[in-house]
Amino acid sequence: MTRFTWASLFAVPVLAASSSAIAADYLTVAQAQHILVPQADAFAAFPVTLSPAQLTQIRQISGVPQRTAQPRVWRATSGGRLAGWVIVDEVIGKHEYITYATGISPDGHVLGVEILSYRESKGGQVRDVRWRSLFRGKTVRDKFKLNQDIPNISGATLSSRNITDGVKRLLAIHAVALAQVR
């Protein structure tokens, strides 16, 4: 084949990459914080460094690995008292990473899940408030089994599974590293 043809062959994926690298950002971290813990009047970044033993515990509890030892955690307070936690995390979607935030009450219940960035054109139902509200009230003791207590989203099975597993993993982080903090 000629040089011209080969150049064309490789040009399309490059063109595709440049054309489709458009992030769909729906919420900032600050916006998500206020939605997830609306009664809070302050959100302070809360540095957490998970030990190898804690990472192992999180994997055992959630069934999936925690990839970073330093999760992005904010402590939400109301009048100086702990009102909840907000953890911002990323999971693998079909092609791109999905950025989401989970609010967790001091006693370990999910307050809500917000999608900050979702870059796939199908499976946008993960942003549907009805789907996300199914997580509300769940604790680390719940199963989080896709299509049993959280419905699967057709066309975005991997995304919905990874978000479901991700929320349980964040509850495991809370149980292992945050539950005793006041």
């Binding site: 000629t2 043809t5 064309s8 062959l9 054309s19 489709s20 092609h95 054109s121 066309g155 991997l158």
Partner: protein, 306 residues
């Protein structure tokens, strides 16, 4: 003359690529995963969604003379339910060969194409979902009619039926994807007579039956959002009415895949690693099957979802 540029090749490739590029930009299309060139996963399209594929496979080099063939397949796929996908495809063959005649297989030099070469209908039934059930499994059945011999470019009529079992497994939340395929193909073919064959040249025109067994596997790793790099392999063994096992071959090579919001593309380099069965007189690469296969294949796939 370079068939892939001078007369139609550049135009052909450029045309398909331009079609893909133009179609990729407007509208909201989703990229379904098709991470490999030769092996397929177990996922089906969601109900009500569709996809258009363009596959180009370049087969080249039989060890002597010149041999280049380009198979182009245009396929439309539709999700009937979340578990059943149906598709229809039209295929085209562009071929140039000279300097090599193989008794019974390559009867004459040829420089033709692209020519319409056949139609295929296919259905894929998803039994287990890799994301939902931890292990994916699908059954793919297809029926194909061909009017051209893909090896020689000569006229023939062939009817084929094929069944493939496709397995798929996600590792590390989808960062690593494994697929495995097992296939069985049966074909009935009748060659058209050719005038002015070389003296003593065999070109049977009585109907023949063929059965092909295939097995393949591939592993792909997500190296960056949207980008997968992997490797795959494919083994085939064909049995014919007259000769028993006619050929076997093992191809293996790297594959790169991009999947974005609008479309996906996959490029695979697939050299023949090992092969056997029938050989043509004077074949120097004795560890390969070069009568119906070539030393190297490249496959470029483009998929546009809607």
């Amino acid at each position: 003359m370079n068939i892939f540029h001078g007369r139609f090749g550049g135009n052909l490739f450029s045309g398909f690529l331009a079609l893909g590029a133009v179609a990729a930009f407007p509208g909201a299309a989703h990229a379904d995963e098709n991470l490999f060139g030769y092996n397929t996963g177990a996922e089906t399209l969601p109900k009500g969604s569709g996809e258009i594929y363009v596959f180009n496979t370049l087969r080249s080099d039989k060890g002597q003379g010149t041999y280049r063939a380009l198979d182009t397949e245009i396929e439309g796929e539709y999700g009937v339910t979340d578990r059943i996908t149906v598709s229809a495809a039209a295929s085209f063959l562009t071929i140039k060969t000279n300097g090599l005649l193989i008794d019974g297989y390559l009867p004459a030099p040829i420089d033709k194409g692209p020519r319409f070469s056949g139609l295929e209908v296919k259905s894929k039934f998803n039994i287990l979902s890799p994301a939902l059930d931890d292990f994916g499994l699908a059954v793919i059945t297809s029926a194909e009619w061909k009017r051209l011999d893909p090896h020689s470019g000569q006229l023939k009529t062939e009817y084929e039926g094929k069944v493939v079992i496709a397995a798929q497994k996600y590792f590390r939340q989808g960062q690593i994807v494994w697929v495995g395929n097992l296939g069985l193909k049966a074909g009935h073919e009748t060659r058209a007579p050719i005038a002015n064959l070389p003296a003593g040249f065999d070109w049977p025109t009585t109907p023949e039956m063929e059965i092909e067994l295939s097995a393949g596997t591939g592993l792909s790793y997500r190296v960056a959002p949207g980008w997968f790099v992997g490797a795959e392999t494919h083994y085939t063994s064909e049995y014919e009415t007259e000769v028993g096992q006619e050929r076997w071959s093992l191809f293996a090579g790297p594959t790169i895949h991009y999947g974005g919001e609008k479309f996906w593309a996959t490029l695979t380099w697939f050299p023949q690693i090992k092969g056997g069965g029938e050989r043509y007189p004077g074949q120097t690469d004795t560890g390969l099957h070069l009568i119906e296969k070539t030393k190297t294949e490249f496959r470029f796939k483009l998929g546009i979802n809607f």
